[in-house]
Symmetry: C2
DNA sequence: AACCCAATGCAAATATATTGCATGAAGCTG
DNA sequence: CAGCTTCATGCAATATATTTGCATTGGGTT
């Protein structure tokens, strides 16, 4: 659990009514150390009580829309979701393992990106800079050589 | 047309027989100024002569596998494809317009990424660093305000 | 000729996400 | 309170992108 974030507050601060389902989704996303797919989130929620898959998708969409959650692309077909950057969470790159689909959060300093110039010169609206490392994670690498 | 690249050579250099279909796919990808989806590529090829959608997917997979073509994720659901970095094409970031789906190639210098440290310290295998800017392109931005 | 293999095609299946429509609860209006 | 509206949710159907299974074909090989 992220001790900085009160999820109800995060929701209302983003103009979203804190419905039980929204809180549950946000808890799963926020409490996890790495980003999850909609399907992962759904499966976790299903364990404790029933919720519809579509509801999960819709809630994730709203959370992304309102800047509470970040939608992250992977080297695979599904999006993953993590807490959006805020006062306590700096933007940072992710590592995606193409074998197991696990995504890791890398530290914000692991890799420096200078976007200054781009922001000044790009003739369109920039919403987000996503940096993703693709490869094979330590575990999968080991498993391969066995 | 990229005047540096001979596509037949690129294929054989990558241990791929230069079948007519492969050459056609690679021409479409290589001659285009920006990355295209499998579906875009299929539609373009269909115009000149018949080819199966699945063949396009399979060829793209082989080309990616053998390092001739790069698979690029977008803020949307489909992958885009562009020439893989080589002696004449440096790696570079892309801009993805979430309104029209158009992807732009940005110059390699538009944005500097220092991955040194990461390569040294990351305890897994790194295959690729992808940098993608998401937003709304100039055209779509203009259209919105009208 | 008989065999083999890789490339291709076509149909079906899969994975992921979205849409349309129904229901019910909460809040507001008069 | 009765009637109206809005919004969250569920369920079924649909859409989109991609993959798989299996058949065919054509070129090389024994
Ligand atoms: Mn993260
Ligand atoms: Mn490019
Ligand atoms: Zn892995
Ligand atoms: Zn656009």
């Amino acid at each position: 659990m992220c001790h900085h974030c009160n999820y109800e507050e995060l929701l209302s601060g983003a103009d979203l009514e804190a419905t039980p389902n929204r809180v549950r989704v946000l808890e799963v996303v926020g409490d996890n150390r790495f980003p999850l797919s909609a399907s992962d989130i759904y499966k976790i929620l299903e364990r404790s009580s029933t919720i519809n898959r579509v509801t999960v998708y819709r809630i994730l969409d709203r959370l992304v829309e309102n800047g509470v959650v970040e939608r992250i692309s992977t080297g695979g077909r599904a999006f993953y979701y993590g807490l959006a950057p805020n006062d306590y969470h700096q933007p940072h790159p992710h590592f995606y393992c193409k074998m197991c689909g696990q995504m890791d959060c890398l530290s914000p300093e692991s890799l420096t990106v200078d976007t200054e110039a781009l922001w000044k010169t790009y003739p369109g609206r920039i919403d987000k800079v996503e940096v993703r490392i693709d490869g094979i994670c330590k575990n999968c690498e080991k498993r391969q050589t066995e």
